[in-house]
Symmetry: C2
Subunit: 152 residues, 2 copies
């Protein structure tokens, strides 16, 4: 008989709370990502488009980075990809020639609306395993975790 290695699966039952939270986050990310594939978007792209949509005008790279909560070099790359998708366009800021502004194209706005619907549906489906009371309680726990950083 040929010796086959059994795939030792992950063992969430052996995991503690910290690991479970990370794994839950990863699970949600993965499911939204899969749902978004349909409209040629990813989570990061959708969230960038969301801020650009909410802003209703051209945004500076630095401001977008602030909203997203990441560094500027990340946003440079993200905007590169969004630009080659045709979802946004860059322009020089006339008030500060160092600055670059980013704005949704019509196509980008349309795509964002599609992605938004999909994410809302997917999120609702994921959370459908909880009652509204449970959701409220889980939400309260998570807010405490996020708002009480041990040293921030």
């Amino acid at each position: 008989m040929y010796y086959t290695h059994m795939n030792e699966m992950r063992r969430p039952e052996a995991m503690r709370l910290g690991g479970l939270i990370m794994m839950a986050g990863k699970t949600v990310v993965a499911q939204l990502h899969e749902a978004l594939d349909e409209v040629n978007l990813s989570g990061p792209k959708l969230f960038a488009l969301r801020y650009l949509d909410q802003a209703e005008k051209a945004m500076r790279i630095t401001d977008l980075a602030g909203c997203i909560g990441s560094g500027k070099s990340n946003v440079t790359q993200l905007v590169d990809r969004l630009e080659s998708d045709g979802f946004v366009q860059r322009a020089r800021d006339p008030d500060d020639r160092r600055g670059v502004t980013v704005e949704l194209t019509r196509r980008g706005r349309r795509h964002y609306q599609d992605g938004k619907k999909i994410v809302e549906q997917a999120e609702e489906e994921i959370m459908s395993i909880f009652t509204s009371v449970e959701r409220a309680q889980l939400e309260a726990y998570l807010r405490r975790l996020i708002d009480d950083p041990p040293e921030n």
Copy 2:
């Protein structure tokens, strides 16, 4: 995928449950990462070392990928870095010449013990905002979320 973007910076209060879970995951990841910097480790590296330590023998790449919950090409790269850190060593599997086994070095085992202590302390600190009853309940919610993936 990292999805730092789930941050939704200025307005966690406007976030729904899905976003909160992703943000909580990111928070925990970031805090463990920061704590681990001390011993020249990262979350993914520590995670891999943990399985190698538990196995107590050389592990196959595929099995490690199964434990970690990622693809093999990711593990190839991770093992490359761990090998150049001197924490693990590869060998050909004598029973299957296609196979590669990975094993902790003495240095890797020592580093893992250091990292383990640090992570346990950091995790305990993060979770210290919850009572043990609350932890149990949060844990139960998260397990349901992880164990009940909506069909896909």
